[in-house]
Symmetry: C2
Subunit: 239 residues, 2 copies
């Protein structure tokens, strides 16, 4: 397997406020998917309960501007084979529990991981980025279905909190802040967590894992104060 | 079992901004726990990872002002027996996944339900209120541990979203609003959801289930627009 370089982009969000779908990532994706003609879309996270075909169509609308055709994994007769043969893969956002429940139920988690490690360029946004981590244990989503396991792809040696935002939902609101929630995760798990704000993404190029985009990330490790890393930093901590 | 009247209070939060622990509920709890000398505290939700004894001590600090002694369920040699013999029960907030994981692992979910339906006054706040619903599927918490099931006490015929707050975390933030999250729950489940804002609680007195406190609740039912119910309303919808 010498010469194989995993190429992965894990984005906090698909869309920035005031922009169109994937607009902020477009220059990066032109490079990331250079030479790709067909992309396999993983639509299972179904934001707002949208159906798989409609969700795939919205991804296809964007990717046709890059000259890339998009196939719907949920429409494949043999989804494991579709993954095995995929030139490139994109997992869209939505509800992480629904996404992970489907991937485990269909037995696709290891197939996905293997294909990405073989070098098929991968893009995940929001829930699709979260599953790049070791577990889905730092998702923001509601547990609307019960997955067979919280284990995810483990493409990086840490967990990801997408849409990271600091502080309270409102000045008087007493619900836990994002920081408190992630700190609670670390009382039960010894997995570092990258709090990934909107506008930033994690780029994996072989052994190099870097923070890219416009915002610093907040890093949470057990028995440490959370600390900020600027764009361009290597994210080389491991569980 | 004639004459037995379940008495339940499910509060959105334990504490209001600028107040002390349970302060806003104190007049209600004086009545709810009238005649009670000992209360069994369920500390498993462990906010911030606090240990069970410390968490119980903080509850005991409040309840001693009502002349009620507090026992730590986590310190009981036979927790099912402790529940069976409890005069009254209070489940504190924290992480719902940790709470539910512990209750299932220790086989206590049905014991708790039975004791409450036998008439032992129950108080739950935040995570402790969420588990009064049919499932924990509308918690706001992170899945930091994997429970054996998401099923909860089902003391009421609907689900509860504690700390309900409308709208975005910040004007430019693209994470799902609470309304979107609950709407996604209803794409996968046919259980009505009460979005319970801080300052309000659900009171069960036998067959009567009412909204109490200071804020209207937002009700989510499948194939309906969410609608507001004012304080004093009966919450008599069922799955």
């Amino acid at each position: 397997m010498t010469g194989i370089i995993p190429k992965i982009i894990l984005g906090s969000t698909s869309t920035l406020s005031g922009q169109t779908y994937l607009q902020y990532l477009r220059p990066v994706l032109e490079n990331h998917f250079a030479g790709i003609k067909r992309l396999l879309f993983v639509p299972y996270a179904r934001p707002g309960g949208i159906d798989h075909a409609q969700y795939t169509a919205s991804a296809a609308n964007f990717f046709e501007t890059l000259g890339i055709a998009v196939d719907n994994l949920a429409a494949a007769k043999d989804p494991a084979l579709a993954i095995k043969n995929a030139e490139a893969i994109f997992t869209g956002g939505g509800n992480t529990f629904v996404l992970v429940q489907q991937l485990h139920q269909l037995g696709l988690m290891s197939a996905l991981k293997q294909r990405v490690l073989e070098g098929a360029p991968y893009l995940g946004t929001s829930a699709g980025a979260n599953i790049g981590g070791i577990s889905m244990g730092t998702t923001n989503d509601m547990p609307i279905v019960y997955p067979a396991s919280f284990a995810t792809l483990g493409l990086v040696g840490f967990n990801i909190n997408p849409h990271f935002i600091s502080g309270r939902a409102a000045p008087q609101h007493m619900g836990e802040t994002r920081e408190t929630r992630i700190a609670e995760f670390l009382t039960q798990n010894d997995t570092p967590v990258v709090g990934l704000p909107e506008g930033s993404w994690i780029q994996v190029m072989g052994q190099h894992i870097t923070l890219e985009g416009s915002q610093p990330a907040l890093i949470f490790e057990r028995d440490k104060q959370p600390y900020e890393l600027p764009v361009g930093s290597e994210l080389n901590f491991k569980k």
